[in-house]
């Protein structure tokens, strides 16, 4: 099978975009977190496949990090937070599903048009990966915009970071420094967010960002 390498990479990267879409229309926090775990799992598979075809064993580390940390530890921890705050049944999207999905499709089309046009010199796998990665990044932004809840925004941000890791691994031979730092930044980001969520809870008994919006810094 000469094209197995390409096809599998294509399948996994495309799968990541699909899971991003699934994230987009989740309106319950617990299901959002479950889908995020799937998102990280697909990413881990994709990175592992890249490690295999690029013969780059250090990428397995990135894959393991994605699997262990992003697919297991973070979703479990966030589930606990959500359960403790008692917001697991809340519906928390700002915009309706229809317009959001249409927006998402437009963003994917945009990223295909942009990236496929400018990467004519790169290898086919790198091209596909970059185009899909940009789609995941843009969808992550869209998820962040359409969420009212702090936890939802965090999930959007983490799916965005997954897109960045996909891009970094698709670029052949990219130094490990960056992948570890990307994984590490998630850790730091998570700690920071954890502190924030805790403090928001402590102060206002809600993690709904809407509750923060009464104040705009100064009275107009």
């Amino acid at each position: 099978m000469p094209n197995l390498e390409f096809d599998t990479a294509h399948l996994l990267a495309g799968g990541l975009v699909l899971v991003s879409f699934v994230l987009l229309y989740q309106d319950r926090l617990t299901s959002l977190l479950n889908i995020y775990a799937v998102h990280a799992l697909v990413l881990a598979l994709s990175v592992a496949w890249q490690a295999n075809i690029q013969d780059a064993p250090h990428l397995y580390v990135t894959a393991a990090l994605a699997l262990g940390f992003k697919a297991i530890v973070i979703p479990v921890a966030l589930r606990r937070i959500v359960a403790r705050l008692g917001i697991h049944r809340e519906i928390e999207t700002v915009v309706g599903i229809g317009p959001t999905m249409l927006c998402g499709m437009a963003l994917v089309a945009l990223s295909m048009v942009v990236m496929l046009r400018v990467t004519t010199e790169a290898t086919p796998i790198a091209r596909e990966d970059l185009a899909f990665a940009l789609a995941v990044v843009l969808l992550g932004l869209l998820i962040m915009v359409t969420r009212r809840n702090a936890v939802g925004q965090v999930v959007g941000f983490m799916s965005l970071e997954n897109g960045l890791v996909l891009a970094a691994t698709g670029a052949r031979g990219m130094p490990l420094v960056v992948e570890i730092s990307a994984a590490f930044s998630i850790l730091i980001a998570f700690i920071v967010i954890g502190i924030f969520l805790f403090r928001i809870r402590e102060r206002f008994d809600t993690v709904d960002i809407g509750a923060l919006d009464q104040f705009r810094g100064e009275r107009r």
């Binding site: 941000f157 130094p175 980001a189 502190i195 403090r199 810094g217």
Partner: protein, 483 residues
């Protein structure tokens, strides 16, 4: 690079790192505040020694060249003076109970981490490392903005965190694209992320890919520069965090982000087929300038007022670098230096004013020159400087920006001058209420540290009257590098 030189480059990074670890462990406000000052002073000395010696060859990860030495000297100097101001500022916060000793320990450690991250971003020769450093600097400032744990501080920190992370994520995507563009020419591995190697080979990169990469980088790092329309985090973060952090944010962190943009601008300029980065930067700069100039009129909060003024000035600086050419680049460098010194000086004054009045509302502050002559008149001097009146340094740099624009693109000079005048009017209008007229608010005497404030204002005044020829030659040389 000689062994000795390497050691000194490392010192600029190691001193803040060691100090951060130490300050995280040590209790006691007096001791830690002094240690904080001592550490920033030593870092400044190490940076000065870089300035006065030959740079040597760039390393794999770190690089000292004529461009970043200017930034590092400025960065460590303002870092040092701010730590002196911070010592008296946090003393007051401790007395009024807004900060606890535990917070303070955290605050000092984070201050040093911020200095470390900014110096690393400036020294990095690897675009991945530079990204990591800018991200680190963002995260440390996020937690410091939220340190008061009030409603407003949390909202500001959250907004800053979300917008900052999105910006930083876009910048990483841009960084990856630069690597993808470089990889066919340079080969796989670390070399293809090394800035000096990238510039040397940039002429052969795929221009289309570089164009897309630069747009991501400009939007990404531009968010951190505070360019409109990506500036929303900036006023909140300045207004709600501790004032020393506002001073460091405005005076330094914005410059560091701009420095990242400049590095990639040089890279773009090395490839003739790629789109010219100038017009993009000119547009974003002008939009920021004019937007911020109008926003200045409606401000009710004193720190927010000067935060918008920072957006305005970053707009001018981005505009100048976007115009390019020896004269505009020179003006941009000078303006950046002057703005850093003046704006952090203003925040030193504003910090003490807000402490003595117990509020940041402009309406509740008045007649400062009568009740607190030293503080009031320094604020007047600072605002006069920042609004671009002669004979202070900002007048000169703004004059250079405007005259170089008139010479090259007269049409662009019209919105530029308009923006400058609108901002000028707003600042003087607000200054009038703050400094003169009927005294309002508490009038008890203030325990202020005037040293850093006067040092900054003196430097700005001297620079407006006389620039040493060595400095001029130096800036001209750097301006040439920027193309």
């Amino acid at each position: 690079m000689t062994e000795f030189a390497i050691a000194r480059v490392d010192l600029v990074l190691l001193i803040p790192l060691a100090a951060a670890a130490l300050l995280a462990l040590l209790p006691g406000y007096r001791l830690t505040a002094r240690l904080n000052v001592a550490a920033t002073f030593l870092t400044f000395l190490a940076a000065l020694s870089l300035l006065f010696t030959a740079h040597g060859a760039p390393g794999t990860y770190l690089l000292v060249d004529d461009l970043n030495v200017v930034f590092i000297a400025l960065n460590t100097f303002v870092g040092f003076t701010t730590s002196v101001f911070s010592a008296s500022y946090v003393g007051h916060e401790l007395e009024t109970g807004r900060l606890t000793p535990a917070h303070l320990r955290f605050y000092h450690a984070m201050y040093q981490m911020l200095m470390f991250a900014m110096n690393l971003a400036l020294l990095a020769n690897n675009i991945g490392l530079m990204w990591v450093a800018v991200e680190g600097a963002t995260l440390t400032t996020v937690v410091m903005v939220g340190i008061y744990r009030t409603h407003e501080a949390l909202e500001a920190a959250w907004k800053y965190f979300i917008l900052g992370s999105v910006g930083i994520a876009l910048a990483l995507f841009g960084t990856i694209l630069v690597y993808v563009a470089a990889q066919p020419e340079i080969g796989e591995g670390l070399d293809a992320m090394e800035w000096t190697t990238l510039v040397a080979h940039a002429a052969k990169f795929d221009p289309a890919l570089l164009n897309v990469a630069f747009i991501f980088l400009l939007l990404g790092y531009g968010t951190k520069v505070g360019l409109a329309p990506l500036h929303a985090w900036l006023p909140d973060a300045h207004a709600e965090g501790p004032t020393p952090i506002s001073a460091v944010l405005s005076g330094l962190l914005l410059n560091v982000a701009l420095y990242a943009v400049l590095r990639f601008k040089i890279l773009m300029a090395a490839n003739v087929a790629a789109v010219a980065p100038g017009p993009l930067m000119v547009t974003m700069g002008l939009v920021s300038l004019i937007f911020a100039a109008f926003m200045l009129y409606r401000r009710r909060d004193i720190k927010r007022l000067f935060a918008y003024s920072s957006i305005e000035h970053m707009g001018i600086i981005t505009f100048a670098f976007g115009m390019g050419g020896p004269l505009a680049n020179f003006a941009g460098l000078l303006h950046m230096t002057m703005h850093s010194l003046t704006k952090s000086g203003i925040f030193f004054a504003v910090g003490h004013v807000a402490q003595v009045k117990g509020t940041q509302r402009i309406a509740d502050i008045g007649g400062l020159t009568e009740t607190h002559p030293w503080l009031g008149w320094s604020l007047v001097a600072g605002v006069v400087a920042i609004s671009g009146l002669p004979p202070l340094g900002i007048f000169m740099s703004e004059f250079l920006v405007v005259s170089s624009t008139f010479a090259r693109a007269p049409l662009l000079a019209i919105p530029l001058v308009l923006g400058l005048l609108i901002a000028f009017g707003a600042l003087l209008l607000r200054l009038n209420g703050l400094a003169f007229g009927e005294p309002r608010g508490p009038i008890q005497p203030v325990k202020a540290s005037y040293g850093p404030l006067f040092a900054h204002l003196t430097l700005v005044l001297v620079a407006g009257l006389y620039l040493p020829p060595q400095l001029v030659a130096w800036f001209q040389h750097v301006a040439q590098l920027l193309g």
